[in-house]
């Protein structure tokens, strides 16, 4: 009969209409600000610098590998000078340009010292824009405990090195599926 297909269509839509009142999978809207969907641990926001909870020292040794690995060249950093004028193994300035960063995660994979990880903070909308989009060290630093909280799997892969940080990067635990040596630049 000519109109049968139209009636079937109306049946499907009516069923969706009626079932949306008592079946959860027929009403899928998540009311965003009030209800929030849990973010998966591997979610890639903007990168942040990790510092050890106890010593408070940044794990970054200013080796410029992340800056070279970034496709969008959005990381600039300079090595600090020690008291005796010799270069010290920590960054003096570390700026990340949010306007260029596309959150691809290559910097985290390129960092041999596991000083970088991906944040879960995506609500960065602001009404006025006081500070420019370039984040400095103080806005980028986060404790290691924060990483354990948002991305436990990455945290145990980047477990803090038992030896002193300045002793040069000796081999970290071999099997680490996240970041570290195997991945090519």
């Amino acid at each position: 009969m000519y109109g049968l297909g139209l009636l079937k269509g109306m049946y499907v839509v009516l069923r969706n209409f009626v079932e949306s009142y008592y079946k959860p999978e027929r009403l899928v809207t998540v009311q965003y600000p009030e209800e929030r969907r849990p973010l998966p641990p591997r979610f890639r926001g903007f990168p942040f610098l990790i510092y050890d909870d106890d010593s408070g020292a940044l794990r970054c040794v200013a080796c410029q590998l992340c800056a070279k690995a970034c496709p969008a060249t959005c990381i600039e950093l300079t090595m600090a000078k020690g008291e005796d004028g010799k270069p010290a193994k920590r960054p003096e300035t570390y700026t990340l340009d949010l306007g260029l960063c596309m959150q691809c995660g290559l910097c985290v994979e390129a960092c041999p010292f596991a000083a970088l990880a991906m944040d879960h903070d995506f609500e960065r909308a602001v009404i006025d824009q006081p500070e420019p989009l370039r984040l400095g060290i103080d806005q980028l630093r986060r404790p290691f405990s924060y990483l354990e909280q948002i991305n436990p799997e990455a945290a145990n892969a980047l477990a803090p090195k038992p030896a002193k940080t300045a002793a040069g990067a000796e081999e970290r635990p071999a099997k680490s599926s996240h970041g570290g040596r195997e991945v090519t630049t």
Binding site: L6, R26, L27, V28, T29
Partner: protein
Amino acid sequence: MSMDNVWIAIKQAAVGAARDVLYPLLDPVLPAWITPERLMMFASAVISVVSILVIVPLVMMYLTWAERKVVGRMQNRFGPNRVGWFGLLQPIADAVKMLTKEDIVPARGDRFVHLMAPVLILVPTLLVYAVIPFGEGMIAADLDIGVLYFLALSSVTTLAVFMAGWASRNKYSFLGGMRAVAQMVSYEIPLVIAAVVVVMRVGSLSTVAIVEAQAGLFGWFVFQPWGLFAFLIFLAAMTAEANRSPFDLPEGESELVAGFHTEYSGMKFGMFYLAEYFSALAQCFLAATLFFGGWKGPLLPGWIWIFLKTFVLVFVLFLFRGTFPRVRVDQLMGFTWKFLLPLALTTVFVAGLTYYLPPVPGWIVGAVLLTGTFFVLMLPNRRVTLVRRACRLEN
């Protein structure tokens, strides 16, 4: 004083008050020829006009809210629920938005015609509510040519749509305007013939008489074979008249951007939006009056019945909007001239035939004749036999 004519009592009280209180108050000021009776007549006219102008826009505003909630639920989402509780203030928010938006007139467009089009589309759709019987005796103007008045006015909107299309000096709106004229003119005919079927059986054009003729539950015309088919034709033609879903070609978003009201913004666009809902609501009211026995119905008072029936029909329009893709222009024309019109003519013939036959055999004869024509008429239209095509799976 049953619930049925509570409104009539209120009106009479108000008119009485106008005579007793208002007239002595204004007597020194009024010119001599205004007698109390004339003042009462004027007061009752003002009351019915004001009541329509208050109730209908209110119902219409919450019709837009209901549409977005219902179509939302059909699509597994909530629909507006941010503005006010359950989104109830959404229509008010829309109205404010429409008022505050900048009102753009296209540079080389025809300024006067561009301004007149929204007026010409809104006024007739409001005038049309004068003949709709909201209840026992609750009708603004009980014209004895009610249905004719309704159909004549509702065809004026075609002109306004084309004016809008032409004056916007934009190719898309021009195409939209041309489509609108073709569609509305050709769907006017089945609409009128479907109404004529009922008028013929009742013998009067007055909407009140039509409702009176549908006594009792099974007295509704929709239970007659010819009444059912006339209603189906009326439903199809009504959807096309109001430019609503399967036939929303004049404002086909996907191809004509926004059809004839592409160049309209601010309150002018608001008036088109209002007019579309007003005419859809008015035609649902008329369908309820013609085929579902207006205010007739057990238990509940009359004016609740007509609103219930109209909202059921409006829900059907929402369902159309949520389900159907858009028909193409030539299929739209083909559907009217090759399917709706012949079917409408046979319905008129069957209605006339069964008038002379006794009720029960008449019903059967009518039903057989009409379903026969329905299937016969489907053959030329079924250019596409129901395609049961599945793709062959190879490796």
